[in-house]
Symmetry: C2
Subunit: 160 residues, 2 copies
DNA sequence: CTTGACCCTCAAGTCCGCTTGAGGGTGTGT
DNA sequence: ACACACCCTCAAGCGGACTTGAGGGTCAAG
């Protein structure tokens, strides 16, 4: 009867993460070590549940645990140099916008090709395959095309 | 004087990948083994360079090497069951669209917060930090807020 | 005919984000 | 008093995507 606080299993259930994952997050200092019961059990609050939900969302948006940690750190220290926060935010914003554009371009090409194929009676093959085949010689598109051939974009420096 | 074909280093230079990475791609069967010179040097053509550029692009769009391999395989076999290609394409399209929406929502929240801060004179701190601090008690936003607090979204099953 | 920049293979190491396993306490229902 | 579900730690394993290292050949220039 250690009066209160969620057990790790409760938190796991509420967030959809596994207990080991939560411990792991603590181990990499993404999560602050929670208070323990007399017998050493971690006791969490709703706040942790919300932080974890945030982590999941940020992760699904493409942020690494390290970045998320950075953000969380800033968010927890109300007295942090704010220009930092703002800078960080702006950098994130730019990154996200770039990515959206990139994906949108891709989406348009892809949708365009699919539509072409769809218009062309049932996808019984021959027609579609020929598009692919001819695409390989250098024409406007097809998934496989912009997916296998004739990429015009200058290889720009990659992460790492 | 083995007359012709790009050496792995040339390809590396043209694509921005490292030579080991290119060999690695071959080892995982993402790239077909190129012909070799009498002395065992790999001899590539421009086609490979373009495939590699495609791989980089697809990767930057969030596809795994495995998925890229699948796509490349389909694209190379002109006589593949086309409904497959089409299915695959549609699945990719849906995935990409979902992601764009997710990112867009995020972008809007983020931009909104930044704008709020920007309006508020110089980011000299105090003001911004107070937003963060108060946000931690449960108000409408701040990056850190929608980044640390009050996430309404039901934890939905995650990859794996 | 040596030097230096490339090339080769194969094995092992690295980073990320977890999961799994061994070995051992806790706490509650019957 | 005993299950049985849950908690703990620590160590190792895993998949993805590479990088690094050891040990050794090739080739064009000087």
């Amino acid at each position: 009867m250690d009066m209160a606080g969620l057990l790790i299993g409760d938190v796991a259930e509420r967030t959809g993460l596994s207990a080991p994952t939560i411990r792991y997050y603590e181990s990499i200092r993404l999560l602050a070590p929670p208070p323990r019961s007399a017998t050493g059990y971690r006791r969490y609050t709703e706040t942790t549940v919300e932080e974890l939900r945030f982590i999941k969302k940020a992760q699904s948006l493409g942020f690494s645990l390290e970045e998320i940690g950075e953000i969380l750190k800033l968010s927890r220290a109300g007295d942090t140099p704010c220009s930092h926060v703002l800078d960080l935010s702006r950098r994130h914003l730019r990154a996200v916008e770039e990515r959206i554009q990139q994906l949108t371009r891709f989406r348009n090409q892809l949708a365009g090709e699919i539509a072409k194929w769809d218009g062309e009676q049932e996808p019984t093959c021959r027609g579609l395959c020929q598009i692919i085949a001819s695409a390989e010689e250098g024409e406007p598109a097809t998934i496989e095309l912009h997916i296998g051939v004739r990429q015009k974009d200058k290889a720009r420096k990659q992460r790492r």
